[in-house]
Symmetry: none
Subunit: 118 residues, 4 copies
Protein backbone atom coordinates (compact mmCIF):
# COMPACT_ATOMS: atom_id res chain seq x y z
CA UNK A 1 0.00 0.00 0.00
CA UNK A 2 1.10 3.60 0.39
CA UNK A 3 4.61 3.85 1.76
CA UNK A 4 5.38 6.63 4.20
CA UNK A 5 8.61 7.60 5.91
CA UNK A 6 8.05 8.97 9.39
CA UNK A 7 11.72 9.94 9.60
CA UNK A 8 11.45 12.21 6.58
CA UNK A 9 11.13 15.94 7.02
CA UNK A 10 8.37 15.94 4.45
CA UNK A 11 5.00 16.12 6.21
CA UNK A 12 3.12 12.85 6.32
CA UNK A 13 0.05 14.34 4.67
CA UNK A 14 2.18 15.54 1.74
CA UNK A 15 3.77 12.13 1.35
CA UNK A 16 0.32 10.56 1.40
CA UNK A 17 -1.01 12.93 -1.26
CA UNK A 18 1.92 12.09 -3.52
CA UNK A 19 1.45 8.39 -3.01
CA UNK A 20 -2.23 8.57 -3.92
CA UNK A 21 -1.52 10.64 -7.04
CA UNK A 22 1.18 8.16 -7.97
CA UNK A 23 -1.23 5.24 -7.65
CA UNK A 24 -3.81 7.05 -9.75
CA UNK A 25 -1.20 7.70 -12.42
CA UNK A 26 -0.13 4.08 -12.33
CA UNK A 27 -3.73 3.12 -13.02
CA UNK A 28 -4.20 1.39 -9.69
CA UNK A 29 -7.19 3.60 -9.07
CA UNK A 30 -9.55 4.37 -11.90
CA UNK A 31 -12.28 7.00 -12.07
CA UNK A 32 -14.95 6.46 -9.42
CA UNK A 33 -12.89 3.84 -7.61
CA UNK A 34 -13.39 4.13 -3.87
CA UNK A 35 -10.45 5.10 -1.69
CA UNK A 36 -10.11 3.67 1.82
CA UNK A 37 -12.06 5.54 4.49
CA UNK A 38 -10.20 8.04 6.63
CA UNK A 39 -10.37 5.79 9.66
CA UNK A 40 -9.39 2.63 7.83
CA UNK A 41 -6.42 4.27 6.16
CA UNK A 42 -5.30 5.92 9.39
CA UNK A 43 -5.39 2.58 11.17
CA UNK A 44 -3.61 0.76 8.38
CA UNK A 45 -0.84 3.34 8.11
CA UNK A 46 -0.66 3.89 11.88
CA UNK A 47 -1.07 7.60 11.52
CA UNK A 48 -3.44 10.20 12.89
CA UNK A 49 -6.88 10.35 11.21
CA UNK A 50 -6.48 14.12 11.02
CA UNK A 51 -3.46 13.56 8.82
CA UNK A 52 -5.42 11.40 6.38
CA UNK A 53 -8.25 13.94 6.42
CA UNK A 54 -5.86 16.70 5.55
CA UNK A 55 -4.44 14.78 2.59
CA UNK A 56 -7.92 13.90 1.30
CA UNK A 57 -9.07 17.49 1.72
CA UNK A 58 -6.14 18.79 -0.30
CA UNK A 59 -6.65 16.24 -3.04
CA UNK A 60 -10.31 17.20 -3.17
CA UNK A 61 -9.39 20.86 -3.54
CA UNK A 62 -7.20 19.87 -6.46
CA UNK A 63 -10.17 18.11 -8.00
CA UNK A 64 -8.47 14.74 -7.82
CA UNK A 65 -10.92 13.02 -5.55
CA UNK A 66 -14.44 13.71 -4.35
CA UNK A 67 -16.28 12.74 -1.22
CA UNK A 68 -19.82 11.52 -1.19
CA UNK A 69 -21.05 12.12 2.35
CA UNK A 70 -22.20 8.87 3.85
CA UNK A 71 -20.75 6.85 0.99
CA UNK A 72 -17.03 7.50 1.02
CA UNK A 73 -14.16 8.96 -0.97
CA UNK A 74 -13.76 8.39 -4.71
CA UNK A 75 -11.29 9.05 -7.47
CA UNK A 76 -12.34 11.71 -9.92
CA UNK A 77 -12.20 11.52 -13.68
CA UNK A 78 -8.53 12.16 -13.90
CA UNK A 79 -7.76 15.77 -14.44
CA UNK A 80 -4.30 16.17 -13.06
CA UNK A 81 -3.63 19.57 -14.55
CA UNK A 82 -3.32 21.41 -11.25
CA UNK A 83 -1.04 18.70 -9.93
CA UNK A 84 0.93 19.02 -13.12
CA UNK A 85 1.32 22.74 -12.82
CA UNK A 86 2.47 22.39 -9.23
CA UNK A 87 5.01 19.74 -10.14
CA UNK A 88 6.32 22.02 -12.87
CA UNK A 89 6.79 24.86 -10.41
CA UNK A 90 8.63 22.64 -7.98
CA UNK A 91 10.91 21.21 -10.67
CA UNK A 92 11.59 24.68 -12.02
CA UNK A 93 12.51 25.98 -8.57
CA UNK A 94 14.73 22.99 -7.81
CA UNK A 95 16.57 23.36 -11.10
CA UNK A 96 17.06 27.08 -10.66
CA UNK A 97 18.50 26.49 -7.19
CA UNK A 98 20.72 23.74 -8.56
CA UNK A 99 22.01 26.04 -11.28
CA UNK A 100 22.77 28.72 -8.71
CA UNK A 101 24.57 26.10 -6.62
CA UNK A 102 26.86 25.51 -9.58
CA UNK A 103 25.31 22.41 -11.11
CA UNK A 104 26.00 21.91 -14.81
CA UNK A 105 23.32 21.19 -17.38
CA UNK A 106 24.96 17.87 -18.23
CA UNK A 107 24.65 16.74 -14.63
CA UNK A 108 20.95 17.48 -14.56
CA UNK A 109 20.40 15.67 -17.82
CA UNK A 110 22.06 12.58 -16.43
CA UNK A 111 19.80 12.75 -13.39
CA UNK A 112 16.79 13.17 -15.64
CA UNK A 113 17.85 10.08 -17.54
CA UNK A 114 18.42 8.07 -14.38
CA UNK A 115 14.89 8.88 -13.24
CA UNK A 116 13.10 8.31 -16.54
CA UNK A 117 15.07 5.36 -17.90
CA UNK A 118 14.52 3.06 -14.98
Amino acid sequence: MFSLDSRSREPIYVQLEKEIVKFINLGVYEADSPLPSVRALATELSINPNTVSKAYKNLEQHGIIYTSPGKGVFVNKTDLSTIHREAEKIVFAALKDAKNAGMEKAEVLSIVNSVWEE
Copy 2:
Protein backbone atom coordinates in the same frame (compact mmCIF):
# COMPACT_ATOMS: atom_id res chain seq x y z
CA MET B 1 22.67 42.63 -2.69
CA PHE B 2 21.01 39.42 -1.51
CA SER B 3 17.31 39.31 -2.35
CA LEU B 4 14.94 37.72 0.11
CA ASP B 5 11.22 37.13 0.01
CA SER B 6 9.72 37.36 3.47
CA ARG B 7 6.40 36.03 2.21
CA SER B 8 7.92 32.85 0.84
CA ARG B 9 7.38 29.60 2.69
CA GLU B 10 11.08 29.01 2.47
CA PRO B 11 12.79 30.11 5.69
CA ILE B 12 14.73 33.34 5.38
CA TYR B 13 17.96 31.74 6.56
CA VAL B 14 17.68 29.12 3.79
CA GLN B 15 17.07 31.79 1.17
CA LEU B 16 20.08 33.67 2.46
CA GLU B 17 22.30 30.59 2.29
CA LYS B 18 21.31 30.04 -1.32
CA GLU B 19 21.93 33.64 -2.22
CA ILE B 20 25.40 33.56 -0.72
CA VAL B 21 26.29 30.32 -2.49
CA LYS B 22 25.04 31.84 -5.72
CA PHE B 23 27.23 34.90 -5.26
CA ILE B 24 30.26 32.72 -4.52
CA ASN B 25 29.57 30.72 -7.67
CA LEU B 26 29.26 33.92 -9.65
CA GLY B 27 32.71 34.89 -8.45
CA VAL B 28 31.51 37.89 -6.49
CA TYR B 29 33.26 36.51 -3.44
CA GLU B 30 36.66 34.90 -3.72
CA ALA B 31 38.53 32.76 -1.22
CA ASP B 32 39.26 34.62 2.02
CA SER B 33 37.02 37.53 1.05
CA PRO B 34 35.18 38.85 4.06
CA LEU B 35 31.42 38.54 4.06
CA PRO B 36 29.37 41.33 5.60
CA SER B 37 29.31 41.18 9.38
CA VAL B 38 26.33 39.56 11.03
CA ARG B 39 25.07 42.85 12.35
CA ALA B 40 25.68 44.82 9.16
CA LEU B 41 23.90 42.26 7.00
CA ALA B 42 21.02 42.00 9.46
CA THR B 43 20.55 45.75 9.36
CA GLU B 44 20.81 45.92 5.60
CA LEU B 45 18.31 43.12 5.05
CA SER B 46 16.08 44.28 7.89
CA ILE B 47 16.21 40.91 9.56
CA ASN B 48 17.35 39.71 12.94
CA PRO B 49 21.07 39.09 13.55
CA ASN B 50 20.22 35.60 14.77
CA THR B 51 18.78 34.77 11.38
CA VAL B 52 21.95 35.86 9.61
CA SER B 53 23.97 33.92 12.16
CA LYS B 54 21.98 30.80 11.46
CA ALA B 55 22.65 31.04 7.73
CA TYR B 56 26.36 31.66 8.32
CA LYS B 57 26.58 28.77 10.75
CA ASN B 58 25.00 26.39 8.27
CA LEU B 59 27.32 27.52 5.50
CA GLU B 60 30.24 27.01 7.84
CA GLN B 61 29.13 23.46 8.57
CA HIS B 62 29.14 22.87 4.83
CA GLY B 63 32.70 24.12 4.72
CA ILE B 64 31.77 27.05 2.50
CA ILE B 65 32.76 29.83 4.85
CA TYR B 66 34.72 30.07 8.07
CA THR B 67 34.24 32.42 10.91
CA SER B 68 36.78 33.94 13.28
CA PRO B 69 34.92 35.23 16.31
CA GLY B 70 36.15 38.74 16.90
CA LYS B 71 37.28 39.15 13.32
CA GLY B 72 34.47 38.26 11.00
CA VAL B 73 33.23 35.76 8.45
CA PHE B 74 35.25 34.72 5.41
CA VAL B 75 34.79 32.70 2.25
CA ASN B 76 36.62 29.41 2.20
CA LYS B 77 38.65 28.02 -0.64
CA THR B 78 35.65 26.96 -2.60
CA ASP B 79 34.88 23.32 -2.10
CA LEU B 80 31.27 23.14 -3.06
CA SER B 81 31.12 19.34 -3.18
CA THR B 82 28.73 19.00 -0.25
CA ILE B 83 26.50 21.70 -1.69
CA HIS B 84 26.66 19.89 -4.99
CA ARG B 85 25.65 16.59 -3.50
CA GLU B 86 22.74 18.21 -1.70
CA ALA B 87 21.54 19.93 -4.85
CA GLU B 88 21.70 16.58 -6.64
CA LYS B 89 19.57 14.94 -3.98
CA ILE B 90 16.98 17.70 -4.15
CA VAL B 91 16.82 17.62 -7.94
CA PHE B 92 16.57 13.84 -7.90
CA ALA B 93 13.71 13.92 -5.39
CA ALA B 94 11.88 16.67 -7.29
CA LEU B 95 12.17 14.76 -10.56
CA LYS B 96 11.03 11.50 -9.02
CA ASP B 97 7.99 13.23 -7.56
CA ALA B 98 7.30 14.89 -10.89
CA LYS B 99 7.46 11.56 -12.66
CA ASN B 100 5.07 10.06 -10.13
CA ALA B 101 2.79 13.03 -10.66
CA GLY B 102 2.64 12.08 -14.32
CA MET B 103 5.15 14.48 -15.80
CA GLU B 104 6.68 13.39 -19.09
CA LYS B 105 10.39 13.36 -19.77
CA ALA B 106 9.96 15.83 -22.62
CA GLU B 107 8.36 18.33 -20.29
CA VAL B 108 11.26 18.16 -17.87
CA LEU B 109 13.76 18.56 -20.66
CA SER B 110 12.03 21.72 -21.77
CA ILE B 111 12.15 23.06 -18.22
CA VAL B 112 15.84 22.17 -18.04
CA ASN B 113 16.41 24.09 -21.24
CA SER B 114 14.46 27.10 -20.04
CA VAL B 115 16.61 27.26 -16.93
CA TRP B 116 20.01 26.69 -18.55
CA GLU B 117 19.51 28.56 -21.78
CA GLU B 118 18.71 31.89 -20.20
Copy 3:
Protein backbone atom coordinates in the same frame (compact mmCIF):
# COMPACT_ATOMS: atom_id res chain seq x y z
CA MET C 1 18.33 13.35 34.86
CA PHE C 2 20.83 15.34 32.81
CA SER C 3 23.17 17.38 34.97
CA LEU C 4 24.26 20.79 33.79
CA ASP C 5 26.57 23.36 35.26
CA SER C 6 25.44 26.86 34.42
CA ARG C 7 28.65 28.32 35.78
CA SER C 8 30.84 26.27 33.48
CA ARG C 9 32.54 27.92 30.53
CA GLU C 10 31.22 25.14 28.40
CA PRO C 11 27.97 26.20 26.69
CA ILE C 12 24.87 24.61 28.14
CA TYR C 13 23.82 23.14 24.82
CA VAL C 14 27.20 21.38 24.52
CA GLN C 15 26.89 19.99 28.03
CA LEU C 16 23.42 18.76 27.21
CA GLU C 17 24.61 17.05 24.03
CA LYS C 18 27.30 15.20 25.96
CA GLU C 19 24.87 14.15 28.65
CA ILE C 20 22.45 12.73 26.11
CA VAL C 21 25.19 10.84 24.27
CA LYS C 22 26.34 9.49 27.61
CA PHE C 23 22.85 8.25 28.44
CA ILE C 24 22.53 6.60 25.04
CA ASN C 25 25.86 4.87 25.57
CA LEU C 26 24.74 3.71 28.98
CA GLY C 27 21.74 2.11 27.32
CA VAL C 28 19.22 4.37 29.03
CA TYR C 29 17.81 5.24 25.64
CA GLU C 30 17.41 2.60 22.96
CA ALA C 31 16.75 3.05 19.25
CA ASP C 32 13.46 4.82 18.55
CA SER C 33 12.98 5.73 22.20
CA PRO C 34 11.47 9.17 22.51
CA LEU C 35 13.55 11.84 24.18
CA PRO C 36 11.81 14.39 26.36
CA SER C 37 10.06 17.08 24.36
CA VAL C 38 11.88 20.36 23.86
CA ARG C 39 9.48 22.20 26.12
CA ALA C 40 9.38 19.54 28.83
CA LEU C 41 13.16 19.28 29.02
CA ALA C 42 13.55 23.04 29.00
CA THR C 43 11.16 23.34 31.91
CA GLU C 44 12.77 20.51 33.83
CA LEU C 45 16.28 21.87 33.39
CA SER C 46 15.15 25.47 33.85
CA ILE C 47 16.67 26.54 30.58
CA ASN C 48 15.26 28.09 27.43
CA PRO C 49 13.55 25.87 24.84
CA ASN C 50 15.86 27.31 22.20
CA THR C 51 18.85 25.96 24.06
CA VAL C 52 17.39 22.45 24.16
CA SER C 53 16.50 22.80 20.50
CA LYS C 54 20.06 23.70 19.66
CA ALA C 55 21.40 20.61 21.40
CA TYR C 56 18.83 18.39 19.70
CA LYS C 57 19.56 19.91 16.32
CA ASN C 58 23.29 19.29 16.68
CA LEU C 59 22.71 15.70 17.75
CA GLU C 60 20.45 15.26 14.74
CA GLN C 61 23.17 16.55 12.42
CA HIS C 62 25.46 13.92 13.91
CA GLY C 63 22.86 11.31 13.08
CA ILE C 64 22.32 10.42 16.73
CA ILE C 65 18.69 11.40 16.99
CA TYR C 66 15.96 12.27 14.54
CA THR C 67 13.09 14.61 14.99
CA SER C 68 9.59 14.49 13.57
CA PRO C 69 8.06 17.93 13.85
CA GLY C 70 4.65 17.49 15.40
CA LYS C 71 5.59 14.17 16.95
CA GLY C 72 8.78 14.51 18.91
CA VAL C 73 12.44 13.62 19.09
CA PHE C 74 13.69 10.05 18.89
CA VAL C 75 16.93 8.14 19.33
CA ASN C 76 18.38 6.78 16.13
CA LYS C 77 19.80 3.34 15.58
CA THR C 78 23.01 4.08 17.34
CA ASP C 79 25.73 4.96 14.91
CA LEU C 80 28.14 6.86 17.05
CA SER C 81 30.97 6.86 14.54
CA THR C 82 30.94 10.62 13.98
CA ILE C 83 30.83 11.21 17.71
CA HIS C 84 33.70 8.78 18.04
CA ARG C 85 35.79 10.53 15.47
CA GLU C 86 35.18 13.86 17.13
CA ALA C 87 36.13 12.52 20.53
CA GLU C 88 39.32 11.13 19.01
CA LYS C 89 40.23 14.51 17.56
CA ILE C 90 39.64 16.24 20.86
CA VAL C 91 41.66 13.71 22.82
CA PHE C 92 44.45 13.90 20.27
CA ALA C 93 44.57 17.69 20.46
CA ALA C 94 44.47 17.67 24.27
CA LEU C 95 47.31 15.17 24.45
CA LYS C 96 49.43 17.04 21.95
CA ASP C 97 48.97 20.24 23.91
CA ALA C 98 49.78 18.40 27.13
CA LYS C 99 52.96 17.03 25.60
CA ASN C 100 53.96 20.49 24.45
CA ALA C 101 53.24 21.77 27.94
CA GLY C 102 55.80 19.31 29.23
CA MET C 103 53.59 16.48 30.41
CA GLU C 104 55.26 13.06 30.54
CA LYS C 105 53.79 9.95 29.02
CA ALA C 106 53.68 8.27 32.42
CA GLU C 107 51.52 11.05 33.79
CA VAL C 108 49.00 10.69 31.01
CA LEU C 109 48.85 6.95 31.46
CA SER C 110 48.04 7.41 35.10
CA ILE C 111 45.25 9.82 34.18
CA VAL C 112 43.96 7.32 31.62
CA ASN C 113 43.92 4.68 34.34
CA SER C 114 42.16 6.90 36.80
CA VAL C 115 39.40 7.57 34.28
CA TRP C 116 38.93 4.03 33.00
CA GLU C 117 39.50 2.08 36.21
CA GLU C 118 36.70 3.72 38.13
Copy 4:
Protein backbone atom coordinates in the same frame (compact mmCIF):
# COMPACT_ATOMS: atom_id res chain seq x y z
CA MET D 1 58.59 31.23 14.77
CA PHE D 2 55.28 30.71 16.55
CA SER D 3 52.68 29.19 14.28
CA LEU D 4 49.11 30.35 14.60
CA ASP D 5 45.98 29.26 12.81
CA SER D 6 43.52 32.08 12.28
CA ARG D 7 40.91 29.62 11.05
CA SER D 8 40.94 27.69 14.30
CA ARG D 9 38.20 28.23 16.85
CA GLU D 10 40.88 28.40 19.53
CA PRO D 11 41.51 32.05 20.43
CA ILE D 12 44.74 33.44 19.02
CA TYR D 13 46.02 34.48 22.44
CA VAL D 14 45.57 30.92 23.72
CA GLN D 15 47.41 29.51 20.72
CA LEU D 16 50.19 31.98 21.32
CA GLU D 17 50.49 31.06 24.99
CA LYS D 18 50.77 27.39 24.08
CA GLU D 19 53.39 28.08 21.45
CA ILE D 20 55.53 30.05 23.88
CA VAL D 21 55.26 27.39 26.56
CA LYS D 22 56.17 24.79 23.96
CA PHE D 23 59.28 26.74 22.94
CA ILE D 24 60.33 27.08 26.58
CA ASN D 25 59.88 23.36 27.07
CA LEU D 26 61.90 22.66 23.96
CA GLY D 27 64.70 24.73 25.41
CA VAL D 28 64.50 27.40 22.76
CA TYR D 29 64.08 29.98 25.48
CA GLU D 30 66.11 29.65 28.65
CA ALA D 31 65.65 31.47 31.93
CA ASP D 32 66.03 35.24 31.55
CA SER D 33 66.00 35.07 27.77
CA PRO D 34 64.16 38.04 26.32
CA LEU D 35 60.94 37.49 24.42
CA PRO D 36 60.02 39.70 21.48
CA SER D 37 58.33 42.96 22.40
CA VAL D 38 54.56 43.14 22.15
CA ARG D 39 54.75 45.39 19.12
CA ALA D 40 57.42 43.41 17.33
CA LEU D 41 55.62 40.11 17.84
CA ALA D 42 52.28 41.60 16.81
CA THR D 43 53.82 42.90 13.61
CA GLU D 44 55.63 39.67 12.86
CA LEU D 45 52.56 37.52 13.40
CA SER D 46 50.21 40.03 11.79
CA ILE D 47 47.94 40.08 14.79
CA ASN D 48 46.57 42.73 17.08
CA PRO D 49 49.00 44.01 19.77
CA ASN D 50 46.21 43.59 22.31
CA THR D 51 46.21 39.90 21.54
CA VAL D 52 49.93 39.58 22.23
CA SER D 53 49.51 41.61 25.40
CA LYS D 54 46.80 39.31 26.59
CA ALA D 55 48.94 36.21 26.05
CA TYR D 56 51.92 37.78 27.83
CA LYS D 57 49.74 38.91 30.71
CA ASN D 58 48.36 35.41 31.17
CA LEU D 59 51.80 33.85 31.04
CA GLU D 60 52.98 36.36 33.60
CA GLN D 61 50.11 35.46 35.90
CA HIS D 62 51.21 31.85 35.60
CA GLY D 63 54.70 32.88 36.61
CA ILE D 64 56.16 31.77 33.32
CA ILE D 65 57.48 35.13 32.18
CA TYR D 66 58.10 38.47 33.82
CA THR D 67 58.13 41.97 32.46
CA SER D 68 60.71 44.51 33.34
CA PRO D 69 59.15 47.89 32.58
CA GLY D 70 61.30 49.73 30.13
CA LYS D 71 63.42 46.67 29.42
CA GLY D 72 61.10 44.05 28.00
CA VAL D 73 59.65 40.63 28.61
CA PHE D 74 61.74 37.72 29.91
CA VAL D 75 61.43 34.03 30.55
CA ASN D 76 61.27 33.06 34.19
CA LYS D 77 63.21 30.32 35.89
CA THR D 78 61.07 27.56 34.63
CA ASP D 79 58.37 26.65 37.05
CA LEU D 80 55.72 25.16 34.91
CA SER D 81 53.71 23.63 37.74
CA THR D 82 50.58 25.72 37.18
CA ILE D 83 50.72 25.00 33.48
CA HIS D 84 51.12 21.38 34.34
CA ARG D 85 48.13 21.30 36.59
CA GLU D 86 46.01 23.00 33.96
CA ALA D 87 47.09 20.55 31.29
CA GLU D 88 46.19 17.73 33.64
CA LYS D 89 42.71 19.12 34.15
CA ILE D 90 42.17 19.51 30.44
CA VAL D 91 43.39 16.01 29.65
CA PHE D 92 41.28 14.60 32.45
CA ALA D 93 38.16 16.37 31.16
CA ALA D 94 38.82 15.31 27.56
CA LEU D 95 39.28 11.69 28.58
CA LYS D 96 36.17 11.67 30.73
CA ASP D 97 34.14 13.07 27.84
CA ALA D 98 35.67 10.52 25.48
CA LYS D 99 34.74 7.71 27.85
CA ASN D 100 31.19 8.98 28.05
CA ALA D 101 31.12 9.16 24.27
CA GLY D 102 31.90 5.45 24.22
CA MET D 103 35.63 5.47 23.59
CA GLU D 104 37.49 2.37 24.78
CA LYS D 105 40.62 2.46 26.88
CA ALA D 106 42.58 0.68 24.18
CA GLU D 107 41.76 3.42 21.70
CA VAL D 108 43.02 6.10 24.02
CA LEU D 109 46.21 4.21 24.69
CA SER D 110 46.88 4.00 20.98
CA ILE D 111 46.35 7.74 20.69
CA VAL D 112 48.69 8.30 23.63
CA ASN D 113 51.31 6.20 21.87
CA SER D 114 50.89 8.01 18.59
CA VAL D 115 51.50 11.32 20.33
CA TRP D 116 54.43 10.30 22.50
CA GLU D 117 56.22 7.93 20.14
CA GLU D 118 56.68 10.37 17.32
